[in-house]
Amino acid sequence: DAGVTQSPTHLIKTRGQQVTLRCSPKSGHDTVSWYQQALGQGPQFIFQYYEEEERQRGNFPDRFSGHQFPNYSSELNVNALLLGDSALYLCASSSLGRLTGELFFGEGSRLTVL
């Protein structure tokens, strides 16, 4: 099991552009969460997807949107990029049926906005 995989690992965009990040959860997991980690900060919860629907959302603007596919993989989309969107974006998977709170993280996608 490769665990949680994310792509791309690095990308550079300019202000105003749009970006899509992808995540495949750990085998057996049905829930995907996205976190933003700015430099020197802890991960900040963006939103969580379960059964192809947004189940919970953190304090992020509507420019941040997502999707979950029938195979449980997920995408994070960010529109109208701002310089402040530069960060490491982490995907974490879990199983909603196992209420342990343990998240399995990917290695992240590092986004730089110029």
Partner: protein
């Protein structure tokens, strides 16, 4: 609003010395607390959760609701403990709810 505070950005101790990484939280309900760790060039991973009341790699953490703290302790530090440590919170019974993380403490164990 819930908040997790880790007052130390960096903590450096010598091998064999005791370690305590501080974590304080602010939450109006009943919380569940976690410690996540990130070793060099590895992913963020769960170290321990308060409901398990277990010792992992010699680390323990006790939830103190009176002081709203969840400090991580180890009596004798080892060089392989060097890593970034994040304290995290969610509501009790929150299933797979999103976690609120602190800013992290970089622990360096000197030989």
């Amino acid at each position: 609003a819930q908040r997790v505070t880790q007052p130390e950005k960096l903590l450096s101790v010598f091998k064999g010395a005791p370690v305590e990484l501080k974590c304080n939280y602010s939450y109006s309900g009943s919380p569940e607390l976690f410690w996540y760790v990130q070793y060099s060039r590895q992913r963020l991973q769960l170290l321990l959760r308060h409901i398990s009341r277990e010792s992992i790699k010699g680390f323990t953490a006790d939830l103190n609701k009176g002081e709203t703290s969840f400090h991580l302790k180890k009596p004798f530090a080892q060089e392989e403990d060097s890593a970034m440590y994040y304290c995290a919170l969610r509501s009790a019974g929150g299933g797979a709810d999103g976690l609120t993380f602190g800013k992290g403490t970089h622990l360096i164990i000197q030989p």
